[in-house]
Symmetry: C2
Subunit: 386 residues, 2 copies
Amino acid sequence: MARWASMGERSKRELLVARAFLGAVAEPPAPALARFVTEYGPCRAVGLIQREKAPADVTAEVEARRWHVSGEQLLVAAEAAGVRLVVPEAPEWPREAFDGLFGARSVDLPGIAEPIALWVRGKAALAEAAEQAVAIVGARAATGYGEHVAAEFGHGLATAGFTVASGAAYGIDGAAHRGALAAGGLTVAFLACGVDVDYPAGHGRLLRAIAEQGAVVSEYPLGTPPRKHRFLVRNRLIASFGSATVVVEAGARSGAANTAHTADALGRPVLAVPGPVTSKNSVGCHGMVRSGQAVLVTRTQEVLEALSPLGAQLPVEIPAQSRRTDALHPDARRLHDALTGIDCASADELARDSGLPLGKVRALLPELELAGFVARTERGWSMTGS
Amino acid sequence: MARWASMGERSKRELLVARAFLGAVAEPPAPALARFVTEYGPCRAVGLIQREKAPADVTAEVEARRWHVSGEQLLVAAEAAGVRLVVPEAPEWPREAFDGLFGARSVDLPGIAEPIALWVRGKAALAEAAEQAVAIVGARAATGYGEHVAAEFGHGLATAGFTVASGAAYGIDGAAHRGALAAGGLTVAFLACGVDVDYPAGHGRLLRAIAEQGAVVSEYPLGTPPRKHRFLVRNRLIASFGSATVVVEAGARSGAANTAHTADALGRPVLAVPGPVTSKNSVGCHGMVRSGQAVLVTRTQEVLEALSPLGAQLPVEIPAQSRRTDALHPDARRLHDALTGIDCASADELARDSGLPLGKVRALLPELELAGFVARTERGWSMTGS
């Protein structure tokens, strides 16, 4: 594979046309085609396919569209629409993100394969956006709670310098993108249709905002409509683009659970946000935590800990309010307790009530007095109003 | 230690008087006294204390109250109030439940020790109630969500034949007891004050209902007022009485977290119920799951799984709705997808759209037709309204 910088404009163009063709000629994921392209390179692969010299498994993937796809036409139409094709040979290709998919071709994810090329609308460079990225996914029919939390995570991760990857769907996806946009951060939407298709219909404005500040990405050529199976296929891109996947609300069976499964299979941490056990939308998240597939997270800081190589060693930090009596020795606290709710008492009475030896009570009372916890009165010891 | 059945009435009375004295003469937990009683037996221990022959560590625990406690008087007053003293020598003593505390004296729980005797109001026999018991604990200032879930778990566990142990506090405790009562099950309340003290004040009726159907239990003699440190001390009884402890809502620092810590140190499973990450009341539960101290649970069934010796091997069962297309082969589903949202199409068009080879499309369409998914029309294939 020639280095991009040393390639002539003509070679680059030839490569783009070849990959535009290859990305469209088979329905992704096309593992046989992906292997074939790796082996022969994109230009030779195109030639072999068009001369009907490709092996049978590749032919099965491409035969239905072989005579209906023009890489050149796809590229010209995209360029006219301000959409570029990013290919594995180009510096913008997020190599590390998708190398996992490349390697995972043979693992337990049926039909998984790396993308052959990606159509990109937007100003962010994919490789840079992928350097520090987290996927946030979840239910479309999210609750107000789920959307609030997704927006918080999106905002928090973007503020911490992370790109938020998601699928631009209603519910959790949209809230996560919006949170990142509101923070002025990077966010990337992976679509199950062409990047010029406003899907879902109500997210046209959101998709334009994502393109202006980040990127809208798809394997599918312009104009490709979404199909059910394309969402599942698209999910592998989200899972592999993020160094970790945060699931905010997921039903018992959901696309988010599918993305989480892929992330897990790729060895990326899966993080799940809990919710009320009475909410159907959290059943998936809780199941992932129970099965050990996901780590429970409640705030951005915990996502960052999961991403840090030392994450596992960080203590679980629970913000706690300290009480004034915390600093007291247990015996002193017990003595202090004994004065609760009563007017005053003698040292003798306090010893009996607390069960502490009288000598200890006599020694502790002046200490508590000095510290301002108790006061000596004419009728005995009493608590100061704290 | 003589067997209870073979003891004469006088010996039994002597033993009860001795343990009534020992339970009151030191503020629990009194580890030196507990060890001393184990070594010498209760009657000899009383004699040695009253003749000022006890070792220094025991004396430190008992000296403040030594001359102010009468076991006989405590017992007579309790009997008049319909309260009995349950001692380790008696068959009603829940041996297995408290053996853990006995053994844990020396572990990392400062000052932990088994109870010397327990005052019981109520009709349930402790040993039987302890055979299958689960503790449910949580925040006093619970949310409506927390109380709802606690009542559900209380009801579900009682229905499954488990005794619900808790602390009769406002919030989670009360809801758990009420859930068990509503199921007609057994429930035991462990108090941080005498069993005749209505604490909290608003739970007088609840405590009477618990006594009628289960038991109200305390280490403290009648009339003992609650004190802050007594709640923490009492918590060890709840933690050791349950084979597992379920935490429903707990703030960052809470009595429930303390009970959970004790259960954990005793080797009993700790189970935590998640909630909204936006709720301060669930911070403790989430923290326990994150640190590995607790297993996340969302319903009664999952508590039962944790208690079963095979629990760890049970698959995580997520109730899922099945869809009609689930049974289809992925290729058939892809073909079915291609017909979504369009009127009708030819086999050729469907092959291009789905990317499936034309031969496969031609073979699959009649199968889908037979299964009722698609129909042949004059203008091509179309989806049936399903």
